[in-house]
Amino acid sequence: MRYFILLILTLIPAFALGQEWEEEARFGNEGAQSTLRVISSTDTSFFAPVIETFVAKSPSVAISYFVTSTAELNRIVRENPSGYDVVISSAMDLQLKLANDGFAKELTVDGLPDWAKWRSSLFAFTTEPAAIVMNKKAFPDGRIPQTRQELIQAMRDRPEEFSGRIGTYDVRESGLGYLFATQDARASETYWRLTEVMGSLKARLYCCSSAMIDDLVTGELAVAYNVLGSYAKARQDTSDQLQIVLPSDFPTTMMRTALVSAQSSQPQIAEDFVQHLISLQTGSTDNNMPLPPLDVENAVTGRSNIALEPALMTYLDRLKRRNFLKEWESAIIQGQ
């Protein structure tokens, strides 16, 4: 009886909050002994092959895979650290702060260079540049901008073509968008000019990469700025209307990271899962995984890679964030 109540009590938060997920999936046998709960900001389709190979190896384990935005994910984990075993997110800053604040468990995981992990508790497993994705139709002359400066020029030249057809992250909502924006701002003043140009052209703000790409495909958008290249690539296979540009002035490259919750109820399975994920992502490149691998060789020199370091917390500071958003809003929402 007592156990029953306990069970209910532990289940209450999830039901009581009536958590709504962008996606929710379950992998593995019906009668699996244990269920690993993975909370992620990555779409299920990208992660399914990783999970499927894992449950194939460990038939006694089933995996529940929950997808939500990076900001939401950060909030959920902080509120209920024991509710999930593995936390996967593309918002490196939020993930690092989770680890810094003691939400991550220290693991012994092999096969990662030092720059790809932090405190043996936060592990990077992809290398993903922020891309500018463009609908080729918007550039009939085929002169597709290769840098931010060229993009600014193109937009200024043909404002009628781009007005209302430029998309970018709403950095107030998307953790990844905020990360890209702050890193861009840190890198160059060009970011602010670009943002102002986008604001003047009534740029549309999105929550996530997939939505922007959807609108690019339909032609509603001509340009999407700071989209995850991997998502665009996945679509490009079915449609060659899109052009993905990694801006050559300064690339911003993000790494997806995973951590195991310090209060995980099945830490060993969680650790095995992380190890499995890293083995896949650092292994041979042509494994047909939809997730881009961790670029172990090239990233060693990569200043463009956003480093896993405490400085990531800088823009998470309340005052800094307030300042940054104020400035960003005044740039992007002019005239709206």
């Binding site: 043996s120 480093a307 896993l308 405490p310 800088t314 500071d317 309340r318 005052l319 800094k320």
Partner: protein, 455 residues
Amino acid sequence: MNNRVGIIRSLRDRLAITLIGGAAVLAILLYLVVRSYAAQIAQQGQDSILAASVTSILDAAILRDGEVEVDFPYASFSMLSTDSDDRVFYAIYQDDELISGYDTLFHSDPIPDADHRFGTATLQNAEVRVASAARTLIGAQVTTVISVSVAQTQDALEVTLNRISRNAAGFGAGFFLLATALSFWATSTTIGPLKRLTSSVTRRGPQDLRPFEQPVPTEMEPLVASLNNLMGRLDQSLSQSEDFIAEAAHRVRTPLATVRSYAEATLQRVGKPENRHALRSMVKAIDESSRAAGQLLDHAMITFRADHLDKQDLDLGELVGELVRSLTPIAEMKDVRLQIRCPETVNVQGDAILLQNAIRNVIDNALKYSPAESDITISVSNSAEDRIAIRDEGPGFPENNMAMLADRFTRGSNSEGITGSGLGLTIAQDVVIAHGGHLVLANHAEGGACVTLSF
């Protein structure tokens, strides 16, 4: 003489233990000093970075329209990156109110515009080093104090310290080993002259009382000087007493010899029985006293020499042969034959002079009690139990006090009319005992005394 010396721990050991102990203490001290110094340096390193971080944040604080803005640079935290990925915490207070950062980080309330304050705290189960500083912001309407604390875990510091500790420990151990090796070397070098002196003392024969002339270290000079002094005095007193004894013997014996010669010569010319008797008594008395004097001196000499036997390899047969040759003229006067039985070569270790004296005394004794025209047999054998047996054909030892005969000044109850001091057998016994053996007196079944020297 008692040869045992009270022993306390050897100089070598003392020196070695002192030096090695000192080296160990120094090594440990070295380790502790290096480690604590390194810890201090490392801590200062971390502190200065924390301070720089705090300063960079504080410098970014401004008042705009009466509101505080702290637009601190990315470098404020990026400078805190370490190899061990130390965790970072920070807190920004306006007056006493947290405006950003971790509320779990205590508010250390630093004095505005003063130097940084450092401290250690526990935060989220981790030991952290905290740096704090404050600054007064003066605006148009308000004046406010901004205080900033930045904290960092000490994992990298720990790693550095462990590495330094290992190095310091290795350094200390190396120092200790080197010092130990040096101690052994120093010890043996220091003890060397002492050892050389000791071996040169031990190598010396018992009569060698020359001073030591090898150079010795200054510290040993008083010892060797007193030793030389002592030996000099000993040598002098020994030679003086030897000279004295010789002189005394000479002074006594020469007049005795004169008297004896005159008495003998007179005896040739005197006919009256009472005069002849007187003269004979005189001669006998002279013989007795000179013999006693000789034996007393011999005994004294033997007692002295018994402490340091001058042992050599001796052919016992040859030694006895020589002795018999020198005694033969006396034996012949009584027509007594001295016969040696020595079927094989007998080699022993012994003091030739003492052994000869001992055997001479026993043969002398046998000669005195032997009847005319009899034999004295001296057997030499290879068995330690009856090394030398001297048998005569005289009346034998009196059975009643045989056991006491070898005592000093004891004479046989049948010795009347025979000159003797009673020291002859004592001398023989002392010599044999000094050689680790014993003397046995017995009477032969077919008559005659038998003295066996075993050694």
